[in-house]
């Protein structure tokens, strides 16, 4: 037993040496830096499907097992961090006693000879006794910031001065701060949660789109969880007692010890459409409070309550009520369906090709675009829009973005409707011309008339009868043209005309083609006139309305939806995006922050310096030796020593 003790002791020493060694510390610093890079290059915490698309199923699994999608909470990352913590702690532990000793030690053991060996030294002889010199020399060093100790030495004295002890304090502060910050961060981290998960006490919820109330108990965290940071979206007027903690490819529901209600949410915008400010009036109800706490929070101005901080982080639609009209674009019906919708909800519709689901996804009150040059303004707000998905019975969906007000283009109004099939693509816009009353009804009635065989027939008759003599027999052709146009727009009509002209050649062919186009034009005009729509005040404008309508009709078969959704009215409901954090380690982290900043500046700018003045008296003359040393910034010290030397020389010469 006795023999084992020293060996165990020395083994411990070896380990201490290893963990406290600078080489290990530097290796760890590098490892931490490199692994941090990984987390910035590979975007963290995005939905797992995106990673699968990016890397393919095989590498997806490999990277997943390495924790690369959540580097900063991966086990190996925390391991490196832990090691660095250990290494720093040992470093402080090993160096502090020496530093403290050093701070008290004036190095009075130096002899004149050993001082002469210093890089910085100078010597003079003066005709004054050592005794008389002591007080002035002591003051000389003292006035320049040195603390001084005096010791008799041989036939003279040794004055030892030292300054910059704070430098060592700076070292200790800086390194202890690293430890303090890491511990504080650990308190705020989710390590306890990960342990619970590992022990199987909780289970991450990964099913998307289920209601918070349906989340099972295993995915709910109790109120006394020591630290967390999560988000929640609360519509105006609604409240919550729960928080969503996003993690990997799922989330936990955190129960809050209080209730948060958003009474009102306000947002203001700059002319360019970017948000200027947004804020929420919130009401916090806690059984421990006599009356609910009411406060307005905004970005940069959170509410702090009992160790919880409630932040305004973003905003979105909170379920605006939309009053919609669905204009059918296929089939015989021309009657618009009325839909009372709500953003975030799904609505079923019966379309010509089976039932459809209308999923209202968003409503925007403002849409700011760059204004056309020459309009005198830089930006223009083109008014409210809403986005939705139309999903067919097979589950396939297209996404649309429709505007409420017509967009002005050279004095002509158009309703924009963008379509896309891929969420990452841009919307490709279609335009519906506004009628003389700036509505969409005129065009829709025109379109409905085109789809109605009876009205087409009447229009064909009228076009044929009003046309030049010789075209009267063409009512049938006119009807045929209208039918093709209704079914397939410009493309189908052109195909039809080309097939009719198969036998004609040369100039004759061209002449005939023009006649067909004119006939179609006349028939459409007849169809339009028969409707007796409200007219524009001047003829040119009226003609423009008609032409825009025809151009849209010709392209409309390519519009991907069986309905055009018109936004008639709305009642906007906004939702505040809040973040709620419980951070018990924050005070500690901030303490560490303070320590590290002070420590670093003290360490760099209050250097540790030592000087000695050795006096040896011989026959009424005293030899004065000045020497100095420092542990860093030799160049700066050399300069300082020069000043010290010259000042002293000058004074000694005056004696």
């Amino acid at each position: 037993m006795n023999t084992a003790t020293p060996s165990a002791h020395s083994r411990a020493r070896i380990w201490l040496e290893f963990f406290g060694s600078m080489t290990l510390a530097i290796t760890l610093l590098s490892a931490l830096a490199i692994s941090s890079v990984v987390g910035t290059v590979l975007r963290q915490n995005v939905p797992y499907e995106d990673y699968i698309i990016k890397f393919g199923p095989f590498w997806f699994e490999v990277y997943k097992s390495l924790g690369l999608y959540n580097v900063y909470s991966a086990g190996w990352f925390l391991f490196v961090l832990g090691f660095l913590l250990l290494s720093t702690s040992l470093c402080v532990f090993r160096n502090t006693p020496g530093f403290v000793r050093d701070m008290r030690d004036f190095r009075l053991q130096h002899s004149t000879r050993s001082l002469r060996a210093f890089a910085q030294h100078a010597e003079w002889t003066v005709t004054l006794g050592a005794e008389a010199l002591t007080a002035p020399l002591k003051n000389y060093l003292h006035a320049r910031g040195f603390r001084v100790r005096v010791k008799p030495q041989g036939a003279g004295l040794l004055l030892a001065g030292m300054k910059g002890n704070a430098n060592r304090v700076g070292y200790i502060l800086t390194h202890v701060a690293v430890v303090v910050i890491c511990i504080g961060a650990l308190l705020d981290g989710n390590l306890p949660l990960k342990l619970k998960e590992w022990r199987g006490e909780v289970d991450l919820e990964t099913k998307p789109g289920i209601l918070i109330s349906q989340v099972p108990k295993e995915s709910r965290l109790p109120m006394d969880t020591p630290s967390y940071r999560g988000g929640v979206v609360i519509p105006e007027g609604a409240s919550t007692r729960e928080l969503v903690l996003q993690m990997r490819d799922g989330y936990f529901i955190q129960e809050l010890p209080f209730e948060i209600r958003v009474k009102d949410f306000r947002v203001e915008f700059y002319d360019n459409g970017l948000p200027k400010s947004f804020e929420s009036d919130i009401v916090l109800t806690d059984p421990e409070l006599e009356q609910p706490l009411e406060q307005t929070i905004s970005v940069n101005h959170p509410l702090v309550y009992k160790g919880f901080t409630i932040y305004q982080s973003d905003f979105r639609d909170g379920g605006s009520r939309l009053d919609l009209r669905a204009w059918p674009l296929r089939g015989n019906s021309g009657e618009a369906l009325s839909v009372q919708g709500m953003v975030g909800n799904n609505h079923r519709l019966d379309g010509p090709d089976g039932s459809l689901t209308l999923e209202l996804t968003d409503f925007r009150l403002h849409n700011v675009r760059s204004a056309l040059p020459g309009s005198g303004k830089k930006f223009v707000d083109i008014g409210p829009s809403f986005t939705f998905k139309l999903r067919n019975e097979k589950g396939e969906a297209l996404e649309f973005e429709n505007y409420m007000l017509p967009f002005d283009q050279d004095g002509r109004g158009f309703f924009l409707s963008g379509v896309r099939s891929d969420e990452n693509a841009e919307f490709s816009p279609s335009r519906i011309p506004a009628d003389a009353q700036s509505g969409v009804a005129g065009f829709m009635r025109f379109h409905a008339a085109l789809r109605d065989p009876a009205q087409r027939g009447k229009a064909a008759q009228r076009a044929a009868s009003e046309g030049p003599p010789g075209t009267r027999a063409l009512a049938g052709t006119a009807g045929e043209l209208l039918e093709r146009f209704a079914a397939g727009g410009f493309a189908a009509t052109q195909e039809y005309i080309v097939s009719q002209l198969a036998s004609a050649e040369g100039a004759r062919r061209e002449q005939l083609a023009r006649a067909y186009v004119a006939l179609l034009q006349n028939s459409l005009h007849a169809l339009y006139v028969n409707l007796d729509l409200p007219r524009a005040t001047d003829a040119a404008r009226q003609q423009q309305l008609f032409e825009d309508a025809v151009n849209t009709l010709g392209a409309l078969p390519e519009y991907a939806a069986p309905f055009y959704f018109e936004l008639v009215d709305f009642n906007q409901v906004q939702a505040a995006g809040l973040q709620i954090a419980r951070t018990p380690g924050k005070g500690m982290v901030y303490l560490g922050f303070g320590m590290i900043v002070i420590g670093v500046f003290v360490m760099f700018y209050l250097p540790h310096r030592r000087v000695w003045l050795a006096l040896s008296e011989e026959g009424g003359r005293t030899q004065v030796l000045l020497a100095g040393a420092t542990n860093r910034d030799q160049l700066g010290f050399a300069r300082e020593f020069e000043g010290l030397r010259d000042g002293l020389k000058e004074r000694l010469q005056r004696l």
Binding site: S36, A135, K276, V299, N300, S313, K586, I596, V600
Partner: protein, 392 residues
Amino acid sequence: MSASPETLIKDFGKPSFLSTLTLFDWVWAALVVGGAAYVLYRYGAVMSEYEIGTLCGGALLLTGTGWHWKPLRVFSLAVAALSLSAVWLYGSQLASAETSFILRYLLASQSAIMWMSTLFILGTLAYFISLFARSDYAGQLASAFTWSAAAAGLIGLMVRWRESYLIHPDVGYMPLSNLYEVFILFMLVTTLLYLYYEGRYQTRALGPFVMLIIGAALAFLLWFTFERDGHEIQGLVPALKNWWMKIHVPANFVGYGSFALAGMVAIAYLLRERAERVNPQGVFATRLPSLEIMDDLMYKAITLGFGFFMLATVLGALWAAEAWGGYWSWDPKETWALIILLNYAGWLHFRFTKGWRGTPMAWWAIGGLGITTFAFMGVNMFLTGLHSYGGL
């Protein structure tokens, strides 16, 4: 000479710092403190405690810095006088820039920044001539151009500050918040740091090296202005409306500027080191400061940068706690700030504990500049995150 012990003791003491100050030092202090007092008297009622604190702290810091680094006094007074003239000329109309000759061609922020650009180019040329033609006169000219460029740039920012409020009081902000503005800040800080060391080490031979990085930044700034209209003033998004920004950003750029300075000095170091072996009579071996001085300068710049970058990162964390809901979110910019700190912490440890000096440390400082550049520019260009304010 005989003197009483008391007078002898007193004579061996040291005159107090204050008694070493000249009349101009006192005039300077009176102007700075008086100016701050006037602002407090005039606007104190509408200022928050933070703003009052910044004003008082800033005035004391400026006074002290001017006492320590004398040329700063004339520089600051000139910048203040010209900026205030511009504010006065503007009155309450942004349109004054069109009618006032001085604003239009000299002091409106865009004009001042164009003057800054011109003066930087002249300064760079003069520094190169001074080094290669061994001309001291060109060197003096170079310093004068560079000082003037820094003054013009600072005036540009000051006047831009006022202009943002003239556009609309709601738009107004301190111009330290988008890529255009921080590029000017970067050039200013790097230049002033360089000029400080130029005076301290009495050498102009490092000018061409530092001016190279200023020139690169200038090229980017001009491209950004003319191709992307980066100079347009737009209101701040809510997250940026925070008092911390006003010290977080400048502290950060003292860091970036110092690291840039260290990197460029490192290049000069390597050139001299090689020239001493290959061409001992050449310009690099004879005109550049000694290797020891350059090594020291690198060290000084890196310690200064490290301290300020640490301060900036800490301030950023405090701000993030108010704006993003957490003091640390592993946002790419945050993470790269940590990487910069880890890198230079490694550099400093090697110097302190292993005693490394010279060539390897110079290479490391150049590498550090690469990392810093990526953190400053690359993160915004290639990575997405919360710090998207300075997007390209």
